[in-house]
Symmetry: C2
Subunit: 205 residues, 2 copies
DNA sequence: ATGTTTGTACCGACCGGTTGGTACAGAAGC
DNA sequence: GCTTCTGTACCAACCGGTCGGTACAAACAT
């Protein structure tokens, strides 16, 4: 039993708006995407939109929520679900997946979270906090994997999982950004290679 | 004798606009900064603005030019001018300077180039190309330093300067972005620490 | 020296179009 | 028949950009 059902039709329209707006905002940014753009692209009327969202800001929050959910369920959890697998291999495969994602997108669009963090952090405190929370979740997940590797003796005992995880996230975000601005997938490839090399620093000798 | 002088007064007004608009755009972004904002903050009338810039886009290009010039002259060149100093030390000091810069700004504002790259790369091809060129210049500068270190035997002979430089720029940009969204300077500190550790990978054994 | 012209620098009202947001009547579904 | 949903008309505020006009100093002509 769902907490609240909200009749099937409404949910579909709402999802449609979320889908279209999410894609548009990833590509053009929050400010550069107007409500009319979203409405035109989704075929939803204005009155209908304001039935589901009380403002553009509200839409933004909904997109952020959905983005986090999708990221956790479809990216983070699948990559690190197996708690007995080799943490280094898991992270390496995670890096490859991010790389492949950029390749499939032809280096366009960047990271949805990174884009919004860059555009809105200094402008909108509410969005900033949500985005910070999302990056925190990412970092914590990686830190757990690294801590697991340390406990199992696979990684150095002196390793600081939080610090290493922070760096991995930062390096990945930077790599995606530079890949976007150069439109050159080899930028991403090089960064992933260097990142894998960096992982060797953490391995127990 | 200057190539062209353009009477002192006019240049001052133009510079004033560039100053104010540059700061405003770094803080709020390109789209979220209106001409009226710039005009109000600089005390310049609209007619006067359009005497110096033919459009908002034109202003954007002028800001980019000025940004590149300042970055090269006031950051890149001072840090790597000495061609006999230890490359590793030079890069370490460069990292510390970037870290200190973020500290002074209280983690606010991020990287002007990174911000615009994120906001405009997929929206405005002209801006994208200019920004890509700016990052290229940064990367090339770092690559030259690394290549110098390799030639002198200070760094490993197997080192790929272009790849390593690319990674350094990416990691720094990512670190600045995450520092901005978390408003936590320790994020930057951790990333710089990890980056310095990464540099040891390049050192000749 | 004096009046005239010219180019630079500047202002603020105004334009058409777009923005996010509202009001509301009516259709659809139970 | 009541709630849920949806299209349309509308709004004030704001957007980037244009307009006619002004102030003033240097260049010029007389």
């Amino acid at each position: 039993m769902a907490v609240e059902v909200r009749s099937a039709k409404g949910a579909a329209t709402r999802d449609q708006i979320l889908d279209v707006a999410g894609k548009l905002i990833q590509l053009r940014g929050y400010h550069a995407t107007s409500l009319d753009d979203v409405l035109k692209a989704s075929g939803v009327g204005k009155g209908n939109f304001y039935y589901y969202f009380k403002s553009k800001e509200d839409l933004g929050y909904a997109i952020l929520d959905r983005m986090l959910q999708a990221f956790v369920e479809r990216t983070l959890e699948p990559a690190f679900a197996d708690s007995v697998a080799d943490p280094v291999v898991q992270i390496q495969e995670f890096l490859d997946r991010v790389l492949d994602n950029q390749r499939q997108r032809s280096c366009i669009g960047g990271c949805p979270m990174g884009n919004l963090a860059s555009e809105l952090s200094d402008v909108h405190e509410g969005f900033r906090q949500r985005l910070a929370g999302m990056f925190l979740q990412w970092r914590v997940t990686l830190a757990e994997v690294l801590a697991r590797g340390r406990e199992s003796g696979r990684l150095r005992s002196g390793l600081d999982p939080a610090s290493a995880a922070q760096f991995l996230v930062a390096a990945l975000e930077g790599a995606i950004l530079l890949t976007k601005v150069t439109r050159d997938i080899s930028v991403m490839e090089r960064c992933v290679t260097e990142l894998k090399r960096h992982l060797t620093l953490y391995e127990a000798r």
